[in-house]
């Protein structure tokens, strides 16, 4: 479904991604691992049209995405749930959700809204509250819910666990996995918490300084000594750091 071939992205004179190729076939969860500055967020921003690649092609079901306006890409069903969530704090929870379905028709949006509130009942209770009053976990649920309002074929999730208690992280990850099965969309998951990401994903790619160093089935990656050392905590495996 999603096909990225030899993607190069630069910030001014500095190249951040040096030829990335990734394939994803929905319903599938793929995690992208790597340290800070490895280019993970850059990759997601490029797919959603915020950044334009200097070289390479991104296609979704054969349609070329690169060079398109972000709004067109969203219309095609690629929804980006960004790092830091970017919820509108002074808008109500409901208004935030409505904006997630900016392009949908009224019936579609009503159905989607019902589905989102069913999936995250806590949002139903807070529907008319300003979004800025939500707790970290609730905010992440709102961000996910807002993403679901856009009828995604492909969901780009950037650091959903950021700033969350581990228990809540697990809950959110479980929900993502469940939603993928129910709705049949694909998920590209960028995550610092490599262990948890690999737990719910089918395959994974390891990004180092803008290049793919390793890729494979999640189980294999978990067993890989290199990955263990760099991202799963090496000698502190026992305590799971």
């Amino acid at each position: 479904m999603l096909k990225i071939e030899d993607l190069h992205v630069s910030y001014g004179p500095i190249e951040a991604l040096h030829g990335i190729s990734i394939e994803l076939e929905a319903p599938e969860v793929i995690s992208i691992l790597g340290s800070n500055g490895a280019g993970k967020t850059t990759l997601l921003k490029t797919i959603s049209g915020i950044l334009t690649p200097t070289k390479g092609v991104i296609t979704l079901d054969g349609v070329v995405l690169n060079g398109m306006e972000p709004s067109k890409i969203v219309k095609l069903g690629v929804v980006h749930v960004p790092e830091g969530r970017h919820i509108f704090p002074n808008l109500t929870v409901k208004d935030n959700l409505i904006l997630g379905g900016y392009f949908g028709n009224a019936t579609q949006n009503r159905e989607n809204m019902e589905f989102v509130l069913h999936t995250f009942p806590v949002l139903k209770e807070r529907l008319n509250m300003k979004a800025g009053m939500l707790s970290g976990g609730e905010l992440q649920m709102l961000a996910l819910g807002r993403g679901l309002m856009g009828n995604p074929k492909l969901l780009l999730l950037d650091e959903p666990s950021l700033g969350l208690a581990p228990i809540i992280t697990s809950e959110i990850f479980k929900t993502v996995k469940k939603l993928t099965k129910e709705k049949g969309f694909g998920v590209l998951l960028v995550e610092q918490n490599a262990r948890k990401a690999l737990d719910i994903s089918d395959r994974g790619y390891v990004l180092v300084n803008g290049r793919i160093e390793l890729s494979g089935k999640s189980e294999e990656l978990k067993e890989n000594p290199e990955v263990q050392k760099l991202y799963l905590g090496g000698k502190n495996v026992k305590s799971g750091i």
């Binding site: 800070n36 500055g37 950021l162 700033g163 208690a165 581990p166 495996v237």
Partner: protein, 247 residues
């Protein structure tokens, strides 16, 4: 050296730090760890009076409660930030030089008669020696905006060190560094400690924390859940459950 007593910080109904007690002893590297939102940075911000708090914070038996932010560096406390706070219109040299603001003496006549105190000999020497310590000697005339992120962090560290602080607060210094840079950073911090400077470190990277800390305090939901040496902490069941995760 630093004594935090019953520190509580509230943001509206949210309790960011809840009756925290901790002591940082002289000439140690003391790390503060915990998940995001556990209240670590808030502790720094309380020390800097960026947020109102209850309880007390003592530095060498003196309360910091009514010391304004700009008074801290004169007392011997300096810090770096999670998000860099460099002066981007200035060279690396001047960025470091401004760390000497509290001690560099000037007056109105010097100000308008063209005496550039930051180019005086003693001050230049100081800048040079701290630049050497963190490895910026070659870059003194560069502008930080054009330097890699890791190097910019070193500029901020140098700025915090140049005024010979007694206590150095570091907020996630290793975030965004690659592993080679992290190793380099660890070396510098150990060297800083050797010079008699106490370090309070907030850091996510367990590799860095476990390798160089003398003592670790673990926070979760604004409260201290454990304290001890790296070995003790990494075997503490509560820490594993709440923060490190169960294997």
């Amino acid at each position: 050296m630093l004594d935090i007593k019953d520190l509580s910080v509230h943001f509206g109904s949210l309790i960011a730090v809840n009756t925290l007690n901790m002591k940082v002893s002289e000439n140690t590297i003391h790390s503060l760890i915990g998940p995001n939102g556990a209240g670590k940075t808030t502790v720094f911000n309380a020390i800097y009076n960026f947020v109102p708090y209850t309880g007390d914070i003592l530095f060498k038996e003196k309360s910091l409660k009514h010391v304004p932010t700009h008074g801290l560096s004169q007392m011997g406390i300096s810090r770096t930030f999670q998000n860099l706070s460099l002066f981007y219109s200035m060279t690396v040299e001047h960025n470091i030089a401004l760390g000497l603001h509290p001690t560099a003496k000037s007056n109105i006549f010097k100000d308008i008669s063209g005496v550039n105190i930051y180019s005086q000999k003693g001050i230049k020497e100081k800048i040079k020696s701290v630049a050497e310590l963190v490895g910026l000697t070659q870059l003194l005339n560069a502008y930080p905006l054009f330097l890699p992120y890791g190097t910019q962090k070193l500029v901020e560290l140098a700025r915090a060190l140049v005024n010979d602080p007694q206590l150095l607060l570091l907020d996630e210094p290793a975030a965004g560094l690659n592993s080679a840079e992290k190793d380099y950073f660890k070396k510098i911090l150990l060297e800083v400690k050797k010079r008699g400077i106490t370090i309070l470190l907030v850091e996510h990277d367990m590799g860095v924390v476990m390798d160089i800390s003398d003592l670790i305090t673990v926070m979760n939901f604004g409260e201290k859940i454990a304290e001890g040496t790296p070995e003790e902490v990494s075997e503490n069941p509560e820490v594993i459950q709440a923060y490190l995760g169960v294997e």
